[in-house]
Symmetry: C2
Subunit: 335 residues, 2 copies
Amino acid sequence: MKLREIGEFGLIARIKKSWPASSPQVFQGIGDDAAVSSLLPGNDLVSTVDLLIEDVHFSLSWITPRQLGRKSLAVNLSDLAAMGASPRWMLISLAVPSRLEVEFIDDFFAGLKTLAEAHGVSLIGGDTSSSPDRLFISITLLGEGKKESLLYRHGAQPGDDLYVTGTLGDSILGLRLARDLKGRSSSPEERFLLERHLDPVPRLGEGKILAEKRLAGAMIDVSDGLLSDLTHICEESRVGAVVWAETIPRSKAFRALVPGPPAESWKWALQGGEDYELLFCSPPERASDLQAQAKEWPCGITRIGRIEPLAHGLVVRDEKGPVDPSELKGYDHFA
Amino acid sequence: MKLREIGEFGLIARIKKSWPASSPQVFQGIGDDAAVSSLLPGNDLVSTVDLLIEDVHFSLSWITPRQLGRKSLAVNLSDLAAMGASPRWMLISLAVPSRLEVEFIDDFFAGLKTLAEAHGVSLIGGDTSSSPDRLFISITLLGEGKKESLLYRHGAQPGDDLYVTGTLGDSILGLRLARDLKGRSSSPEERFLLERHLDPVPRLGEGKILAEKRLAGAMIDVSDGLLSDLTHICEESRVGAVVWAETIPRSKAFRALVPGPPAESWKWALQGGEDYELLFCSPPERASDLQAQAKEWPCGITRIGRIEPLAHGLVVRDEKGPVDPSELKGYDHFA
């Protein structure tokens, strides 16, 4: 069945039906001019929005509607993870080309819902429209936390150690595979990298613990790529940093399939985007507490560098010494 | 200068520069993974999102970037007006075709800002992207109020009087003019109707007073058209209603330029959308308080009908009696 057959009100009714009418802290959900919800006493509001556009951020030739539903929320959840906040509610703007089937939207929302339920997020509002060409998804995610306990991009201090969760570079390789494979069967390594790109896991639990236990001083999620996101921390904290290229964590699948000379594979991990891992700095005196905590995390953490004084700038070092910035795309963001 | 020349970071920097870094109740605005803000003690969060898509909701051949910026926020403000809530912060998703000039975006934000400042709304976050074809705008507006004092679509009681602010039908005529005129010079009446469509005035002050003084029992803003929006109130309140067609308020410009037989001009006012007036019901015993209050409002209010028991359904009456539903588009929503 095509979307134009059920119309906008039909679509809204369909969405509304699949989401529970009542959720904790929600007084009025979908179905009024606006939603009304309540923060827990003493908490502040944490808000973020992410935009996904067909043929810019994804292609329907290689992502399934379920994966797309999950990923649309995952990228937002990752933003709240990077603050150490607790996600609560979302609003969705959806512009849908009439060529799409109703089943596509059902699957999209089914995927979205699995991740929403896993993190206690309820859908409280939205707006839908037909779209002349492309599918367009904008999700606003609202969460809460205490403003003085959250982690920001500012707050990094010279001398802090620099850490990252999980492994980097998987997603950029997964994106290349997705474009090439277009659904063809693939090896276990290929499937791992594809999943890292198509179904990223936001590090919400880790982010919250880092914030609550004050194990980190500044934090960001790696969405634009490690180099670019570290630049944001440096700019907002007015510090420099050194990254030891060889230490950047890379998965077995990444090492097996990365193109180019193995000695330069870290460049993919340094500059590829959409990893949705957490990049954070932590004072050396918290190192043992941090390591003890991180032992409980399947994704693990890796120390990849150090925060330096602003005057030192942002330097990437490999075994031969400082890397010439001109070799690194995106390096000029910091200039 | 084309947008592709300044890139996404350039665009964000430009937006960030034009908005003050600090706003009341905002702890962290644009420039981190998420924004952090605080509600006033005892208040609840009120959230809404609206989507505007080029060639669906507007055409760049007849709306200026400034008007578009204002209208993108106005439609959201109208949703909060219909709750009786106070707007505070917004997040914007913007997908911009690279054919557009940077000046277009500057003008869009300049327009947006005039309305935002008039209502104390600050921009705390967003996401931007290039768009393959159309301009795409999604604004999430966050506000606050006490959940038990806000007004909802439910809450209408049989016997309540039905009122609307301002005049209806101007916007649909303005839309027709906008499509036809495409910037040509126009008469004062034409300009009035155009402005009603291109630059609607959200009734925030009126909505807040109606809620705070408990002068209304249920409220909605007229965005889909009076008939459609009254249907929402009836459905959510589980009531019927009668509308006296002849009493629907219509402006002088509307009456001068409405197409078709004058005796049927109310059909435009009943079914045209995007009026952004408030439709509300009020118990008869509050009528004198309400009229006294409404005397202070330039837009005024008009009594256009009454809430009836559910079994009576939704009936539109003109001088000849009940109107055959088949004459009215959108009537089947209530069936």
